[in-house]
Symmetry: C2
Subunit: 301 residues, 2 copies
Amino acid sequence: MNILTVGSVAYDEVITPFDRRERALGGSATFFSIAARHFAPVSIVAVIGSDFNLADEQLLEHKGIDLTGLEKVDGKCFFWKGEYLANWNDRITHDTQLNAFEHFKPKVPTAQRNSDVVFLGNIHPTLQRDVLNQVDKPKIVALDTMNLWIKETRADLIDTLKHVDFLLINDSEAAMLSGKRQLVEAAKTIAEMGPKTLCIKQGEHGAILIQGDQIFIAPAYPLCNVVDPTGAGDSFAGGFIGYLAAQQDFNFETLKKAVIYGSVMGSFTVESFSVDRLASISDADIEARYREFIKFTHFEG
Amino acid sequence: MNILTVGSVAYDEVITPFDRRERALGGSATFFSIAARHFAPVSIVAVIGSDFNLADEQLLEHKGIDLTGLEKVDGKCFFWKGEYLANWNDRITHDTQLNAFEHFKPKVPTAQRNSDVVFLGNIHPTLQRDVLNQVDKPKIVALDTMNLWIKETRADLIDTLKHVDFLLINDSEAAMLSGKRQLVEAAKTIAEMGPKTLCIKQGEHGAILIQGDQIFIAPAYPLCNVVDPTGAGDSFAGGFIGYLAAQQDFNFETLKKAVIYGSVMGSFTVESFSVDRLASISDADIEARYREFIKFTHFEG
């Protein structure tokens, strides 16, 4: 099935406890699409400024990502400057410049209006809904969001969530959205809002999948060298949604595998700045890490 | 097999984002022994002040913990005041008073000198070694430590580690001790120091077991209501070491089960302040959560 995603294509300036990188290709749509493209065709709806490097555009094209919906405007690309503190858990945002994104009106190209799978990356919920309104009856709609939108644009988000099957957020966001601290109760409340499946991303600590009474707790792959965590969550989403788009059914066992592929893709992303590592891996690398993951988490009880 | 543990028996003042508790029974030996006692006999070597409540002493006795080695001195019990911030990951220590612990010289009672399993709770490494020197050829020695001792008393710690089989620390402590950021490499360096098995405690995010080329990644049990994380790590150690003390062999499959029992015991502890929840559970509660854990993490690949 074809995947359509809306999100940011951006330049990041990233500071880690050990190193730093300027003008690192980033953005949710970038990480998502490079990860998901290993599993299924992907089209991007996003906006870039005139400062977007030709080499970065060629990288995305070379990866086989459909860029028909990548709008180009005058001015600069979305920019984020952030710093990871020594414990890697805390991240400080030094600067966010919407730039090209400020007046972004997502336009889904005609050829992509029949996409079967839609991934609404972490942007303003009304933009997410704009995209959804331009697509004909997708089989799967997944949405990523964050504390900012839950807090500032709650009504818009709740309106958008009505049409969403899979919600990907972290545990504190699930608590904030649902008003319930206990995850199973949070999932129940969120299911009533729309998304019947909740995927709790825990970053370097794995993910939890909750669908009705069914629960799957997956640890992360902790054996990689963390260089830069930026984009890990979007890459997780790319592996998760990408794997699903290549399947015939979406039963809970299939969803579990999708979570593991999500963790695998996230684990590659953190091994370098930007998409350096993610863009260099082969399908065989992915399968090898997936097998390793299964081996290291196997437990008979 | 009988377990001997040395550690603190203390009073804590705990502030969480939602509540607070004064004079909460705490300390590493307290949590460890209540958790471990579900699996095997446990003796404590520790010191308390004259302010120790009779009810708390009776609780430990009632749980069947041998208190022959619990020394009583004039003055106050060890005291810790801490606060958990809104994200639960960051903990601020407002006050630490050694009190009775200040001049503590651990004395292992004669009857406990032949203990088969020794758990050296998180205290100064020379005190840990003092205990070890008083015990005859234990079958298992496990040690818990922290960044403070790794940094301030490194030579003493490394000397003590020579006699240790299992080291329980978190990932940043493993990096600090070994000088290696990658966990498998850290475990290799630490194995050369003594402990052939490394158990990386990740708190609410599970644990990783590394022994030579064998690795087991276990997620935590995330479905409980977190009220107070204090003591979760010590309770994890109690479940882990307690389960091992009740086994005949210590192969890697056995160690995996021990990790899960550790996570189970930690998950109960966080559901209340102090030992309120941990001290109220039955063997059946533990088995039920262990089964639930297996169900929720099961994955065929």
